[in-house]
């Protein structure tokens, strides 16, 4: 007796990876950073997360409804939570809640859904939100509390300049490097609080590398892109340029290298392209820090390189088997 079967296409087995797994791994890897931020700057970051998360989900649901799509798979996939979390840890913990909410809404609606939603955004959504806030609320966005290891008290929220801020102002006022680095805002490696958050971000990043959620090309590119100009210029003119170690451990360097620049949708495609893309982000960040108008250049560097990514892709198609 003939037995009949249903049919389906090859391959008939898949590994079973999923988008939520990738996204939740990233959220998990951000935990050390959140913990360190709470210790150094107080519980502000938790409030930011509490605002950004629900606002992000609500905006996603709204956008999908307006587009006539079923929102359930997308709300579950965790991608918008990653956007919210990255924004929440990048902004100052004392930022008023309504500014945070605004930034999240801009990130999700303008940075992601205006271009077609998951997988279609040419720009990093969290950085779109951050850049809009930075330009619209420049004072509030640069008001960081003095971290615990610089003498600040997390629950009293005294604010002070960050290390990158102090470096820029100090150089402008013609202090020497030694004098600047004696300031409160500076720790042993880099910025006072930033060196610890940097290490926490590095720890999370190494976890993501080990789990193969991110590949090494972009982080390596970013770190090299910051370190190489810093090393060269510091050797040429130590009085006007900080060392590579300082640059690596201040600002949002490691957060950028492992969490922000690695957003796969807006990055370049091939391995070689990603190295170039990462290096571009690092170099532009260093350039903005040194000669630009903002203390940390990460957000604008990422957005500029997002613009360049299609061009990078065009010229870095890998060699196909059998072709020259």
């Amino acid at each position: 007796m003939t037995r009949r079967f249903a049919t389906s296409g090859a391959p008939h087995v898949i590994a079973g990876y999923s988008v939520p797994r990738v996204m939740y791994a990233v959220l998990f890897a951000l935990l050390p950073l959140v913990v360190v931020q709470v210790v150094l700057y107080g519980p502000g970051v938790l409030l930011q997360l509490a605002v950004a998360g629900p606002v992000a989900l609500a905006c996603e649901a709204l956008a999908l409804a307006l587009r006539g799509r079923d929102s359930r798979p997308f709300l579950r996939d965790g991608s918008v939570l990653v956007t919210a979390a990255l924004l929440a840890v990048a902004i100052p913990p004392l930022l008023p809640w309504w500014i945070t909410g605004l930034g999240t809404a801009v990130a999700v609606l303008l940075g992601k859904h205006a271009y077609g939603g998951l997988g279609y955004n040419p720009f990093n959504p969290a950085m779109v939100g951050y850049a809009v806030l930075l330009v619209s609320f420049p004072v509030a966005m640069t008001r960081w509390p003095l971290p615990l290891d610089a003498g600040g008290s997390p629950w009293d929220a005294y604010t002070g300049a960050t290390a990158l801020d102090a470096l820029r102002t100090g150089l402008g006022q013609r202090y020497t490097m030694e004098e600047i680095f004696r300031g409160d805002a500076f720790g042993s490696l880099g910025g006072a609080g930033a060196q610890w958050t940097g290490l926490a971000a590095l720890a999370g990043g190494l976890y993501l590398l080990a789990r193969r959620v991110v590949r090494w090309h972009i982080p390596a590119g970013v770190l090299a892109g910051i370190a190489v100009p810093a090393v060269v210029m510091h050797a040429l003119d130590p009085g006007a340029h900080a060392s590579a170690i300082f640059h690596l451990f201040s600002g949002a360097t490691f957060l950028c290298a492992f969490f922000i620049a690695t957003d796969p949708v807006s990055a370049a495609t091939s391995h070689r392209g990603r190295l170039i893309y990462g290096a571009g982000i690092g170099t532009v960040t260093w350039t903005i820090r040194t000669w630009g108008g903002y203390p940390d250049g990460v957000a604008f560097a990422v957005l500029l390189m997002n613009l360049a990514a299609p061009l990078i892709d065009r010229y870095t198609v890998p060699r196909i088997h059998g072709r020259e």
């Binding site: 090859a10 798979p73 059998g322 072709r323």
Partner: protein
């Protein structure tokens, strides 16, 4: 023994080969109805030389091949030709015209041709014998073996590689063949070497088949080698894909738009080699092949030697029948096999494995999310492509992008699907796009040819064939009415 380099891609997959490899090769009984496919998957069907009602014997020629790339078909049972009908078959073509022969159980055999002393026979005669024996590639592609060998000979290939890699999960018929009949494989290699006049012959086997390696080594030692060597390749899917295997064994990459003979290489499956050895020494045409019958829904999985035309259902019976809840009947392996709609499809030269899969053996795609451009697909692509970019180019019908990104070089292996976190059926999209591209190229070729011929036609008429010109225009006017603007 050479240790070739591995191509930096592909997947390490669990093999699922221990079931059938725990038993010797089974001989299946002859079927009561043999359904012989006349099209081995090339789109060229052999022309029947018998009609309904004719009596045939085992080994009689029942269909003659057309053109250079067709394969002769021989009866695999003795009996009466019952019908010529189009039936679903495994292999690249979904259906084929088939001759159905009813077995009269006499097992009369056609007089065999004289066995050849292959070392004393000219390569041309060996080629003729291979052609008349109706051998197609037994590795799953079913390409006419005599055509491949002839092209290789004309191109003066210097290196023949025998593909004993068998990289795909579940399939182990070649492993069994090499363990039990290594002498046939080596003999076939030497015959083919003589036909194409290759200096070097390398038999490539994956490193997860130690018994096969030992058996082939012993067979090589017994024949004094004669320029034959063994190469062990790492067990990675798809190490056995023709171009990837050639690159890893010889270091030479076959260019995308060329045949291996164009760079002095030839690749043949070990099963094909064994078949060549058999037909040359015995004088009989090809009537049997080894098929792995496996899967969690088979009671006693085994490698079965069956006559071509045997229904798959008979093979399953020979292996203890169904067990549990079979969900899919896959012709081939789990990565590139084709799910068949029913078990009455016949064994053809293209069928190397049948996987009767339960839900536990399968992992289906589920719901598809948009591509997040994570790049995992590109990391595993053995052809060095960017599947995420190809997907975008396919979706936007960007013909130039598809050329630049190498759609033509996709080997449809399924590795990209396997790792995609968004569960996109990439391989299915690329298979469809490649098919469209082939049809389009075919059309463009024909249009270019028609354009040339029309231009030639016009030139001839302009050069003064006045009477013909008048007749041509008159004919056109009659066909189209008076409507020339």
């Amino acid at each position: 023994m050479a240790r070739p380099r591995r191509f930096p891609a592909g997947l390490e997959l669990p093999p699922f080969k221990s079931g059938p490899m725990g038993r010797p090769i089974l001989a299946a009984a002859a079927p009561s109805l043999a359904t012989l496919a006349l099209d081995q998957g090339n789109g060229i069907a052999a022309q029947p030389v018998v009609v309904v009602g004719d009596r045939v014997r085992v080994g009689s020629l029942v269909a003659r091949s057309e053109g250079d790339f067709g394969v002769d078909v021989h009866a695999t049972v003795a009996g009466t030709v019952r019908s010529l009908e189009v039936r679903p078959v495994p292999g690249a073509a979904a259906t084929s015209p088939c001759l159905v022969i009813e077995n009269d159980w006499t097992d009369d055999r056609e007089d065999a041709s004289t066995p050849l002393d292959w070392q004393a026979t000219t390569p041309a005669d060996l080629l003729a014998r291979i052609r008349s024996a109706g051998i197609a590639g037994l590795g799953g592609a079913a390409f006419a073996t005599h055509a491949k060998l002839e092209a290789a000979r004309d191109a003066k290939v210097s290196h023949l590689v025998l593909n004993g890699a068998e990289c795909e999960p579940w399939i182990c018929c070649d492993d069994a063949l090499m363990r039990e009949r290594a002498a046939d494989v080596v003999l076939g290699a030497r015959v083919m070497q003589r036909v194409v006049d290759a200096e070097r012959v390398t038999i490539a086997i994956e490193d997860d088949k130690p018994e096969a390696i030992t058996a082939v080594e012993a067979a090589l030692a017994a024949t004094d080698h004669h320029g034959l060597a063994l190469a062990v390749v790492p067990a990675v899917f798809p190490a056995g894909a023709e171009r990837q295997l050639l690159a890893s064994v010889t270091g030479i990459e076959v260019p995308g738009d060329a045949w291996p003979p164009a760079v002095g290489l030839l690749c043949q499956n070990v099963g094909t080699a064994a078949a060549v050895a058999r037909v040359v020494t015995s004088g009989e045409p090809l009537t049997r092949r080894i098929v792995t019958v496996t899967g969690s829904a088979i009671a006693a999985p085994a490698n079965v030697e069956a006559r071509l035309g045997t229904p798959i259902a008979d093979l399953i019976e020979a292996c203890g029948g169904y067990r549990g809840e079979p969900l899919r009947l896959i012709a081939g392996g789990s990565m590139t096999g084709r799910a068949l709609p029913s078990d009455d499809a016949p064994v053809t030269q293209a069928l190397n494995c049948v996987v009767v899969a339960t839900a536990a053996d399968l992992a289906v795609h589920g719901s598809e999310m948009p591509c997040i451009r994570c790049g995992d697909c590109a990391s595993v692509c053995p052809a060095g492509l960017l599947p995420q970019s190809l997907l975008r180019a396919v979706a936007s019908a960007d013909a130039q992008g598809l050329v630049r990104l190498g759609l033509a070089d996709c080997i449809e292996c399924g590795c990209c699907d396997y790792v995609c976190p968004s569960r996109i059926p990439l391989t299915a999209r690329f298979v469809a796009a490649r098919r469209e591209r082939r049809l389009r190229l075919d059309q463009e070729r024909r249009a270019a040819r028609a354009r040339e011929r029309y231009a030639g036609h016009e030139r001839r008429l302009a050069a003064g064939a006045e009477a013909e010109r008048r007749e041509f225009e008159e004919a056109r006017r009659r066909a189209r009415g008076d409507g020339q603007s």
